[in-house]
């Protein structure tokens, strides 16, 4: 279970392993920055998974590993890839359905070949304690925009917003005007923890999470 308390001491978002992305009129998304992400059941102490779902799962039920431009899943308990039970590490592709335990169903998506970032969609009703609408496994970039091939679909955006890693920080830029904490940023800008990013038709806030 990830901790909901923001980490104010962090000066850069890239210094944390995950953050919440609160997007007006869209939802909230968990963005995981590391190459390995563990998925498991809920817990309040000890070695918690990166993604703790409110579901009858092992503490560490499976691990998703980014390897170059592909992803593999490492099962630690009962995991199915589609209808096929997994006993060992297996590569997963865009559109694959992962079944964890008896009832947790997740769909793995690689929305665009232009980015190694992936998205996990919830097919069953299981969510983390802090409900999120989706999970992004962020490689170097994360696209927020109106199309399905964006990592986070934001139908009300008139132009996509690109989040990307740069010099140990998370930056953002867009074809439209962007304001970070009220400051106009014509050429893109770093997003400090807790910053509010706004445009004429959108607003979102990044909140870093400590594990």
């Amino acid at each position: 279970m990830f901790n909901l308390q923001p980490s104010p001491a962090l000066s850069t978002l890239a210094g944390t392993s995950k953050f919440l992305l609160w997007i007006d009129r869209v939802g909230v998304f968990l963005v995981c920055m590391t190459d390995q992400v563990t998925i498991g059941g809920p817990g309040i102490e000890g070695d918690l998974p990166d993604i703790g779902l409110m579901a009858p799962l092992s503490r560490k039920h499976a691990t998703l590993i980014r390897s170059g431009e592909s992803y593999v899943v490492q099962p630690h308990a009962a995991v199915h890839l589609g209808h096929k039970p997994l006993h060992d590490r297996a590569e997963i592709y865009d559109g694959n359905e992962l079944r964890l335990g008896a009832g947790v169903r997740l769909r793995f998506r690689l929305p665009t070949v232009m980015s190694g970032s992936a998205r996990l969609e919830f097919l069953s009703d299981h969510r983390p304690r802090q409900v999120v609408d989706g999970i992004v496994l962020m490689d170097d970039t994360c696209l927020l925009g109106p199309q399905d091939d964006h990592h986070i679909a934001c139908p009300s955006f008139t132009a996509p917003v690109l989040l990307y890693r740069k010099q140990g920080e998370i930056w953002c830029k867009s074809r439209n005007e962007l304001f970070v904490n009220g400051q106009f940023q014509p050429g893109g800008a770093a997003i400090p923890p807790g910053a509010i990013v706004e445009g004429s038709d959108m607003r979102f806030r990044l909140e870093s999470l400590s594990k």
Partner: protein
């Protein structure tokens, strides 16, 4: 779309706003977390009427698995009321329908619809009518469907069937009797019928380009059930009966009929066409109701379709065209006549499209009970596509402190005095262009008359516009107020005109003949061919009431000065004398002057600075 509160704001103790969810008909909705991590939806009630709050209070303790739970009503430090509600993370029916343009699979329809009926039936059994059932208010999380905005329903008892606060409901889902101020539980059954139609087909049974057109279809047109699967047609037809007494009697019966139809049984009674289109019969104690003018609704509706103008605005458009032809003939075949024809045609089209309070009034005239104590407020059809994102505009809600408003107003009024002085000099010098007004430079009285009236008119437009800025627009109400203000300005102008003994506003030369030369028994001009007090009052009332002046004065207008606004206003000044006799040259001059000076004087926030402006305001 901008929201008043930023992420991490804490308008209510114990709750932190994390993001905005949406803006509904009754206020902004935010996702918030309590200090202990409980997720809730906070709805900022932007109207805060006692009736609304009482309506919410009545529903606070209603409990049903298919109703969105209301937790509390709280008041923030500024006196605004907040509704604390259950948060649903699932999709709304509206979004679900967007993904299924051909309709939902039958199993999905059953899942949604039977639960919707269960929730609505629970409300009805407790004497509450929802009144605003629509796909945007229905949500599903997992397998559970929940109906939202329940607290905004109104309690209905047999003696209060005509309770009238403010008509709600999206016009696509609105029962025909709502236009007559009737709010029985039957209107919810009708809305359920519309949504069932939409879920089965992916289409709305009645759509159109204006509120009036859609309402008229609800009142008179037979729904096209061809795309509805055959076994469900009787169910949908009965739920969409025009006459509430012939409609499916309750939501639970509707659900039963639906299940039976889904199982291949026939339960719903087939309705004849007469049953479906018969207008609601007036109750014994009810005042006489204006019946639709169509004696044979089907035939006339079809005729209307053929003519391409089913709207009740049609007579006005025809009148405009006739006026244009008359004036064109009077002016000969020259370009001036054609120009007048074009202008009238454009205005006719604008009015037909629902532009302006006159359009609303005309539409309402066909629908409102003759002697109803208060006409229902007919909700506006969304002017933009339903899912279009919105940038900042005068419609953007903002919290502006009174001191800020007064400062802006004072500055604007000072600027208006300056620009009026400039305009007066221009008009005074431009004796050739404005020859009909006379040589103003040689007649200071006329110049003073123009100048004072223009300044008075500008201030009279700026004051309400600045007081309304950032607040939720009540278009028709604002137009009514502006009409009254315009009439007062006209009376002031007439008084000034009389004091200055002006005799230069003759009704000759470029003056339109005007279809109306009297209002009631009051002539619009005197024997000296000067406009009378009624003439001035009617002209300014029309000029103020037809244009959406608060957009021209709003700080979030698209540009500081738009020629198109001025030109449109000038056209209005050109056309008003066609209906109400008034010196056309003065009419156009005032229209241009008021539009120009209002835009030049009113404060304006550049687009790039608006986000920061809104952040500070929040």
């Amino acid at each position: 779309m901008k929201f008043m509160f930023a992420p991490e704001a804490r308008p209510l103790p114990g709750y932190t706003i994390k993001r905005a969810i949406d803006r509904g008909g009754f206020g902004e909705v935010y996702y918030a977390l309590s200090d202990s991590g409980k997720e809730v939806a906070l709805k900022l009630l932007q109207r805060n009427t006692d009736v609304e709050l009482r309506g919410i209070a009545e529903c606070l303790n209603l409990k049903h698995p298919n109703l969105l739970s209301l937790f509390d009503v709280r008041t923030d430090e500024e006196g605004s009321h907040w509704l604390v509600m259950e948060y649903i993370s699932g999709k709304s029916l509206e979004l679900t329908l967007e993904g299924h343009p051909q309709g939902l699979p039958p199993a999905e329809v059953e899942n949604w619809f039977t639960q919707m009926c269960a929730g609505v039936n629970y409300l009805h059994e407790r004497g509450v009518v929802h009144r605003d059932l629509k796909p945007a208010n229905i949500f599903r999380e997992g397998p559970i469907v929940k109906i939202g905005d329940v607290g905004l329903a109104k309690s209905i008892t047999p003696s209060r069937r005509s309770i009238q606060t403010e008509s709600v409901g999206t016009v696509y889902y609105m029962a025909p009797e709502v236009a007559k101020g009737k709010y029985g539980s039957e209107i919810d059954v009708y809305s359920l019928g519309v949504m069932l139609f939409e879920m089965l087909t992916g289409r709305l049974p009645f759509s159109g380009e204006s509120t009036g057109e859609i309402l008229m279809k609800h009142l008179t047109e037979k729904p096209d059930l061809e795309k509805v699967p055959e076994r469900f047609r009787p169910v949908v037809a009965r739920a969409l009966a025009k006459d509430p007494t012939k409609r499916t009697p309750s939501a639970s019966v509707l659900a039963e009929e639906f299940r039976a139809a889904a199982g291949g049984k026939v339960v719903a009674q087939e309705l004849t066409w007469d049953d479906m289109v018969a207008p609601p019969a007036p109750r014994r104690s009810a005042p006489p109701v204006a019946q639709p003018r169509k004696s044979n609704p089907l035939a006339e509706t079809q005729a209307s379709r053929r003519s391409g103008a089913a709207s009740p605005m049609k007579p006005l458009v025809i009148a405009m065209c006739i006026m244009g032809v008359i004036f064109a003939m009077k002016s000969g075949a020259g370009s001036a006549g054609m120009f007048r024809l074009l202008v009238l045609g454009l205005v006719g089209v604008a009015v037909y499209k629902g532009w302006g309070v006159f359009g609303s009034a005309m539409r309402g005239a066909n629908l409102v009970p003759v002697s109803a104590p208060r006409p229902p407020v007919i909700p506006q059809i969304p002017k933009a596509p339903r899912y279009r994102s919105e940038a900042t505009s005068p419609a953007t809600l903002r919290r502006l402190p009174l001191s800020s408003r007064m400062e802006d107003l004072t500055t604007s009024m000072t600027r208006a005095a300056f620009w009026t002085a400039i305009a007066t000099v221009i008009v005074g010098l431009n004796t050739t262009l404005l020859g009909q007004i006379g040589d103003l430079t040689s007649d200071p009285a006329r110049l003073a008359f123009y100048s004072i009236t223009t300044l008075l008119g500008t201030w009279a437009l700026l004051i309400p516009a600045k007081l309304w800025e950032g607040k939720e627009a009540q278009g028709p109400a604002r137009r009514v107020i502006l009409t009254a203000i315009g009439a007062a300005v006209g009376v002031g102008a007439a008084w000034l005109h009389e004091q200055l003994y002006l005799e230069s506003m003759t009704m000759t030369a470029n003056t339109f003949p005007g279809l109306l030369r009297t209002v009631g028994d009051r002539p619009l001009f005197g024997p000296d061919l000067q406009p009378s007090t009624a003439g001035f009052a009617v002209f300014f009332a029309a000029l103020f009431g037809i244009r959406r002046w608060w957009w021209q004065a709003d700080a979030f207008r698209s540009a500081r000065f738009r020629f198109s606004s001025t030109i449109l206003t000038a056209l209005l000044g050109f056309v008003i004398p066609a209906a109400f006799v008034f010196p056309q040259n003065w009419a156009v001059l005032w229209a241009v002057s008021l539009s120009s000076i209002v835009q030049l004087s009113a404060g304006w926030v550049p687009v790039a600075e608006r986000s920061e402006f809104l952040t500070k305001a929040a």
